[in-house]
């Protein structure tokens, strides 16, 4: 999201259609760039370079590669304040999920999220179940955890989520 000069050859005019083809991002068509999303965004507040309105503009301009390869789309805290504030009922939170999904398919996913999925396919949850944890739970008389990911894996495999690789 630098302020470099945009060359029209780098623009992909189809990008906004690619994004709004996803049901949950369709309302982005009604965005009039008012900036209420950015004004309410906690990440924008502490790190002003992260700017939902600017991202919305970049999508409309067709800056496909710049948006998808940006670390910024992964910084969203998922607080959903943007969707609460938007006068046009755009859920920028949902738009970001669509962007992240497309970026993940193209190899830009951060390791942390890819590892979580791998773990879910093993134990059903995003953590391994270590011996110390098992003992602690016994001590506290809490029920033991099954730690089974087979069924989750079966479902995940129908979506291609299991094939997503991290950018490393």
């Amino acid at each position: 999201m630098s302020n470099k000069i945009i060359r029209t050859a780098e623009l992909d005019p189809n990008f906004k259609f690619e994004v709004t083809a996803h049901e949950s991002a369709r309302d982005l068509n009604y965005c009039f760039a008012c900036g209420s999303c950015s004004a309410g965004c906690p990440i924008h507040e502490v790190f002003p370079d992260y700017n939902p309105r600017k991202l919305a503009k970049m999508i409309k301009l067709g800056l496909r590669k710049e948006v998808l390869s940006s670390d910024y789309i992964w910084y969203c805290a998922t607080c959903r304040t943007c969707e609460q504030r938007c006068p046009q009922k755009v859920s920028f939170f949902n738009v970001l999920n669509v962007l992240k999904n497309i970026a993940a398919k193209e190899g830009y996913a951060p390791t942390a999220w890819v590892e979580q999925t791998k773990q879910v396919m093993q134990t059903g949850i995003v953590f391994p179940i270590e011996e110390t944890c098992v003992k602690k739970r016994e001590q506290l008389s809490l029920p033991s955890l099954k730690g089974e990911g087979k069924k989750a894996k079966k479902l995940i495999e129908t979506t291609g989520l299991d094939e997503i690789e991290s950018r490393g």
Partner: protein
């Protein structure tokens, strides 16, 4: 008597068992029956980052497990609450439900829209009610001044919560705290997010968020922060000393999960019933202000 399937989520049972311990303790004494379903898996919220469909399927799978036992779900985590409730709303659409059920049939499951989802605080608020909480109080907590922190997904997306509370001006946790006898404060950064979902990708930015709130609370003369989500807990308590060092300041703000506060008021043993000794921040100053 109300009865729910207890959805533990991923993080609470592994990293914050004191939340589970205290929630089970207060529930038992307030007539909330909790049923364990060992087949439950990750709610799917984080998976949605990489695949919206993948996240939706995991959420639906969990709803289906509860529905097979004719139970509604109660969650401890705010994000599990928000995401599962949103999925219930999304699966009201027949075409979506058919598509998802086709995949769920691969593991012999089906979801027909009967199972609903509530957060543990909402269940205490609605099923038990403030009057009965007040009657269950055995210790005097009136010397405690505490800061509520709601957690973003406790009330969002708004469309999934049928008018329960108001995300831009929330009140229920304030009321739940008042019912224990402790005094909840209002403060400028009340609605700030804990940054828990930013943390795995950028700890630095998450720390900036945490610092804003701790800095605000530092000047408010509080005895503790009260949270109702294990991720908020891990961010504000677990990261507190790192943030203090990074910003060259000192923070000593204890953080309690709401059922720990409620259990304390109800006369529970802080260590064995409510897991106070599992909190990393010492709680002796809090306990010193509580009258038997």
């Amino acid at each position: 008597m109300s009865k729910y399937a207890l959805f533990l989520g991923c993080t609470t049972p592994i990293k914050v068992p004191q939340y589970e311990l205290s929630a089970r303790w207060v529930s038992k004494r307030l007539g909330i029956e909790l049923v364990d379903i060992e087949d439950f898996v990750c709610c799917g919220f984080n998976q949605g980052n990489l695949s919206i469909e993948g996240g939706l399927l995991l959420a639906a799978m969990n709803l289906a497990f509860a529905e097979a036992q004719d139970l509604d779900i109660v969650t401890l985590c705010a994000a599990c609450n928000g995401f599962l409730a949103e999925t219930v709303a999304e699966l009201k659409d027949e075409a979506t439900r058919d598509r998802i059920n086709k995949k769920l049939s691969l593991i012999d499951l089906e979801y027909n829209g009967r199972t609903k989802v509530k957060h543990i605080s909402r269940v205490i608020y609605e099923d038990v009610g403030l009057d009965r909480i007040e009657k269950a109080v055995k210790r005097d907590l009136s010397k405690l001044r505490v800061a509520p922190h709601y957690g973003c997904h406790y009330l969002k997306p708004k469309s999934a919560f049928e008018g329960f509370d108001e995300p831009d001006n929330p009140k229920t946790l304030h009321h739940l705290i008042s019912a224990t006898g402790a005094a909840p404060i209002q403060y400028e950064t009340l609605l700030h997010c804990c940054g828990g979902k930013t943390f795995p990708v950028s700890p630095d930015i998450a720390h900036l968020l945490i610092e804003k709130k701790l800095n605000n609370l530092q000047t408010m003369g509080i005895d503790a922060m009260i949270v109702q989500c294990q991720t908020c807990y891990l961010m504000y308590e677990g990261q507190q000393q790192k943030v203090a060092e990074k910003f060259n300041t000192q923070y000593k703000i204890p953080v309690l999960l709401y059922p720990q506060l409620l259990g304390l008021a109800m006369g529970g043993d802080p260590a064995t019933d409510l897991g106070f000794d599992l909190n990393t921040m010492p709680l002796d100053k809090v306990l010193a202000k509580v009258e038997e």
